[in-house]
Structure formats: C-alpha cells, structure tokens
Amino acid sequence: MTLDHLKSSLKPGFYAGIVALFISVIGMIETFSNRDIIHGVFSISHTFLVIIALITGYFSATRAQRAGIRQHGIDRRAEVVNAIAGSLIAGFVMGLFLAVLVVVANLINLRPVFVNVTPKLIDLLTFGRPSLAGSIVPLSMFTIVSGLGGALSLFRSDIRRLIVTSLLWFAFAGLISEVIRLSLSRLGVNVARKFVTTRGLTPLGAAVMLALIFAIVYASQRLRDRQRRQPDQSSPARKRAVRFRSWGLIFVLLLVLPWVVGRVPSDVLVLVGIYVLMGFGLNIVVGKAGLLDLGYVAFFAVGAYSTAILTSADQLPNIQLSFWAALPFVIGITGLAGLLIGAPVLRMRGDYLAIVTLGFGEIARFLALSDWFSPVLGGAQGVVKIPNVVIAGIELADPEELYYLIMFFCLITLFISWRLEGSRVGRAWVAMREDEQVAESMGINTIYYKMLAFAMGAMIASLGGAVFAVKLNTVFPFSFSVNVSITVLSLIIIGGIGSIPGVLVGAFALVGLPELLREFDEYRLLLYGVAIIYMMIVRPEGLLPSVRRGRELHEDEMAQDAWGKPAEVIPVPANPELSG
C-alpha cells in the first residue's frame, strides 16, 4: 500500500498554516487573547486557532479518505487510518508554520518589520514556553487538534452535526459572555460571579452553558427529525395557531429584551436596530429594484441632519419642533433628496450607477462639513442639543427606552417590505431587474419605478438617521463616512440580498458583535472582506436567502440539470403545404 494519497492532505495544512501565521503576524491573536471564552483557560484567540485546526483536520481527513478510495478501493479500516493520518499530517504542516515563527522570533528580532510579533504573541503560541524548545508546543498542539477534527469526520453525520453546532453556539456564548454577565448580574452580583467574569465564562459557567446548549441543540434536532419523518398533519387552523403563538413569543421576547440585558447591550441593540432599518431600506433599492447604491449614507445623513436642525434650539432658532412634528418633514425632505439625486443618476446602469452614488455619498458629508452651510448645518462642530423624544409625556432618554422607538420603526418598515413582496410594485421591480428592456416594452415605466425604489430607500434611511440623531443628541459630519454605506451593503450581502431575516442576522453579525467586542473593531474591514469573499464563493444567496434570490443564483445549475432530461415532443399535425 502506497501512501501517495496522503499528499492530498498537505494542501489544506499549507493553507491553514498561512492563515494561522497571517492572523498571528497582524496581531489578531494577541488582541483577542485579552478576552476569554472560559476565564483563564481558553481565550478567543485560542478559539480561532483551534477552529482553524479543526476545520483543517476535517477537510484533510475527508480528502485523504477520498483519495484513498480512488487508489485502493473501499475499505472501512483503511478509511479510518487515512482520515486520522491525513488530518495529523495537515495539522503538522499547519503547526510547522507557527513553530517556524517561534524559532525565527527566538533567533532574530522580527519586530522592526512585523511590529506585532511581540514576546506576548510567542508566549501565547507556546503556552508560556517562549524558548526555542517551545516551538514544539504549537507543532504538537495543532497536530493533535487537527487529528481531532479528522476524527470528527468519522462520526455519523447527525452526531457530527450535533457536536459541531453545539460547539459553535458555545463559542458564540463565550463571545457574548459580557452580555450574559450583565443580564445575570441583575439577579444578583454574587450569582453572576459564579458563572461569568468580566473576562469570560467561569469553568462552572462554561460547563452549565455547554450542557444547556447541548440539550437545546439535541432537542431541536430530534424535533426536526421527527417532523421530517412524519410531516405535520394537523389542520391549517391549528398550524396557524401554532405559528401565531411562536411569533407572539418572539415578539414578547423582543419586548422584554432591553430589560433583560441591561443598559450597555441595549445601547448596542439600538445601533443594531438603526442598521436593521437601513438594511431593510437598502434591500428595497439593491435587492428588489436591483440598483447598486453605494452612497446610501447620504440619506442617513439627510435624515439625521434634518431631524437635528428641526428639533434643536441651536440651529434655526425660530424652528423648533418636537421629534414627532419634525418626522413628516424629515421623511419628506429625505424623499425629495432621493428624487433629486435619483433623477440624474438612475439613467445610468450597473457599475456607473455604483460609482456615481458613491460620489454623492461623499458629497453629502463634504456639504455638511463645508463653511458655506455651517450657519445651518454647524460645519465641523455639528449640531448639538438635540432634545430627546417624548411619547405621551415620557422622555426616551435611556437606550432601553429608545430601543422601543427603533423597534417600532423597524416593524413598520418590515411590514412595508413584506407587503411589497407580492404587490404590483414588487412585481414590476422584479421584472425590471430581470430584463429592463422587455419590462419597458410591457409598459412598465422603469424610470418611475427606479425613482420609487430610490425614494423609498431614502425615506427609510431617514428614519434611521432620525433615531441616530436623538440617540446621540448631537450630529457630526464624521458619523456619515462611506463606511456606513459599506456596512449596510455588506450586511445585506452576508444576510442574503432581498431577504428580511437575513438583514437581522447580518446586522447582528456586522454591527452588534464588533460593538460588543471592541477588539473586533481594528479588524472589522478585514473580517468584512473575508466574509463577503467567502459568501460570494460559497453561498452567493447569503446566510438566510430570500426564495427568489436563491432561485436566481442557482438557476444556472438547474439549467445544466435540465439538459439531462429527455426533451418533450409536442405532437403537431403534419401540414405539407406550409413547409414550402
């Protein structure tokens, strides 16, 4: 028996090694080591490395198995050996990269070039043995972890899914341990301290959490299996009742959420809400009407600034409205701005549209900064003293209260997006996206529907801007950089263009997590980039795709399948005169 097939494991190990080396050298490992999943035992940076090693092990194991089968035929025992050997080799190769880093860092000072190769990083990679001999540590460590990943490939698929899902949720719980701590501390500081510390879960907390997650994942998998085996036979009325109740439950959960998690996470939730709102808005423009708008921040800025000017006492002192009185004007002004920008721009297509809108987004910020407008817009000083929102005599000052405002707006936009889906307007947008020329020849006024999409997107963004203004009580030009547009676009791409739940997930992942884990901030754009490239290659329809978009993107595959099927023959009476 030759061992040629084990060569196939070298490649995954090589890639994993490069990735591990890269995130070490750019300082990610060190930055994230300050926060633990399990206090004092396991940091987030360890999690990164372990996850890389596990994935590597898993892939190299399956590769080695397949290569082995190709060369030597099916043999269960050989498969097990191949899987383990393959993953160990890959892990060894990966470990080698980090071992070499440790050795080199020991011999010469790398820091003039790689400023992040600190003694602390070496300490982390070797688990506190930063000497030359310590280079053995990453080598053996990643070989073993990768081997575990390989072993994972030998489990039955349902068991494997159970393990992987549970571990991922556990890692997620560790990431948001700060939120868990804050919400538990409402039950009493001493209770909280047993389970969570400021740096992560305690070993006890980790054990409880893992058990809890495991139980939930197991139960939900069993439930899904049972449903698959015997589909729900209950009456439609009962099904509707069940669905109604589960939506009700989600709604109630959303209502009490800020009081469970407390102030700081609520503040993050408000920010996430603003991005959810803008995600819904941009989804209409990009997802439904197919217009790539890279200057969405302009409308967010117009919304924020018009709210600020109309409600603040400092700017235009004769106009000082309440938030609610100002809101119709804000929406109207931004809608007009949408039409104003849209009119010249929407005659362009594709790339040109993207570039021009990008320009308009930047222009909006420069106008806000300009001296010329500074008597009204406040220039670099911005607009301050924006009063809080008052509903029925209650002032919404705390993030816990503001949360309801943004949620209210989100629900309204959600309702609008949902109603648009099957409407005449929605159909016109889809038709336009598919074939603009034919849509036009069917009598769809494409310019009108493009403008409509643009203006609606703008008005929704203005709601986000309005909440942003009253959240901070101040508005500065610097808040409206191109990054806002990029974030909103990224979150709808990652969540799934055109998908409503996708926006929620995308906003939590791209806005919520970096806010909760400030360590992410430095690497935010790197992670966006990686996430978007990955999504474009592996799952172009996004995490939670809309039905139609999923259809569109997998169309080509289906068309290829269709070739395999025999063509239908349509019987036609013979008509010799016509064949002239």
Partner: protein, 242 residues
C-alpha cells in the same frame, strides 16, 4: 384590402437614426384592422428598429407614427403600450425566473379594458391549454415552444389593438415554427390585428394578407402576400429559389 377603412397603425415617412447612423429611411407602412401584415428582411435590414420606433423606444428623426389616427411618435413607451400596442419580443425573452403566472400578470400591467385578470387569463388558456398546466412553474424551465406560448400569452394579456411580433420563428424547431404561425392565424381570427417581422419569408407570407420587404432601412417592395410570393426578385432573394 379594406381600402376605405382607416389604418390601425400607420408609419408615415419615418426616418430613424441611432446616433449618427441612419437606420430607417423614409419608411411608410399601413396596417388595417383585422389584417396580418408582415415585414420581411434579412439581418440588419432594420426590422427590430422599426418595432422599437413604433413602441417609442427610439424617436424618429423625421415622419410620424399613428395609432388609430392619433400620433404616437414622441410619446413614451408606457403611454404607447397603454394605447393598445403590445409586443412579443425577439427570442421570447420571458422573465425566466418568474413563474408563468407572474409573467402573464406583468403582461397585464397596464390593462385598461376593465375586465378582470382571470378573464384575460382564461382567454390565454383557451388558446394555449398547456400554459395553464405550467402556471406555477418558472418560465425558464419551459421548453422553447412553451416559452413561445407564454410570450404570446403575455402580450395578449394587455388586450392589444395590434400585436407586434419580432421574429417569432427564431430559435424554434421547424415543427414549432409551423405551430406558432398557426396560432398567429388563430389570434388574428379572434380579431387582433397583427404585425409580424420575420426573416422566414415563406412562413410569414403563408399566413399574411400583405407584406413589406425591407432592405438596409428602406422598403423595396410592398404587395399582397400572393403578389410577393410570385415576385421574381422575392423568389430569388428571400424564398430560396435559384
């Protein structure tokens, strides 16, 4: 035929440019109610441009287009479609990722005849029973013949005064071409005036009342279908006779 009647659609001395390029030169076409008229011509003779001009996607530099005596050149496409012209585009061009039903609904986007959507659909189904079977299927998964049916159905959903067809024979198997032309005839018998643009002169003339021949943007021949079939120049250039 119908010399005294007023034409439904009339192109009067239409000249069209794409930028500086002359596309149509002094084109005059009359189509009377209840007729099938065909416009024949080879590649790049200006057939599709003629249709685009009628639909207002291109504005003629000289001359005008009239629908039922009203001038329509200069109006935008939406207004023209609303006045009762609909088109079956070249290569069918269905909205492939939408269902057949959605395609038909888009066809009725500007309906003004006051009938319900279902009534119009029923009319399409009597013409094409197959379309009814495929209603909830994506248009892209249909066979070429079925797509042609949906494309014609989509155009009929607007309940047009005149139906424009751009090369209905293109990309279809000979059997399906014959079938398509039979259907054109059938629609015409139900009272819709048809203007069909074709390369397949034999096929088109077999169902048409009259025909025009277009060459590099100019009309070189205009006659009844029978007259064209007998014309010696036609027989050489378009009907495949040596």
């Amino acid at each position: 035929m119908n010399g005294e009647k007023k034409p439904v659609l009339e192109l009067q001395n239409v000249t069209t440019h794409y930028g500086p390029i002359l596309m149509l030169q002094n084109l005059s076409v009359e189509i009377f109610p209840g007729e099938i008229v065909c416009l024949l011509g080879g590649n790049a003779s200006g057939k599709t441009t003629t249709l685009k001009t009628i639909l207002g996607m291109i504005v003629p530099t000289e001359g005008s287009v009239y629908l039922g005596g009203e001038k329509i050149s200069g109006l935008n496409t939406m207004e023209i479609v609303k006045m009762g012209i609909s088109m079956v585009p070249e290569n069918r061009r269905l909205f492939k990722r939408m269902t057949v039903r959605e395609n038909l609904e888009i066809g009725a986007f500007l309906r003004t005849n006051g009938k319900s959507l279902d009534e119009d659909m029923e009319r399409v189904f009597t013409l094409f029973p197959r379309v009814k079977e495929r209603l909830n299927q994506r248009a892209g998964t249909l066979s070429g013949g079925e797509q042609q049916m949906v494309a014609v159905g989509r155009a009929l959903m607007a309940d047009p005064k005149i139906l424009l067809m751009d090369e209905p024979s293109m990309g279809l198997a000979p059997v399906l071409v014959e079938q398509t032309f039979e259907i054109i005839q059938q629609i015409n018998e139900q009272g819709t005036t048809i203007f069909v643009v074709e390369q397949n002169a034999n096929m088109a003339l077999s169902i048409a009342n009259r025909g025009y021949v277009l060459q590099t943007g100019k009309i070189v021949l205009a006659d009844t279908a029978q007259g064209l079939l007998n014309d010696s120049m036609m027989r050489h250039a378009y009907l495949g006779e040596a």
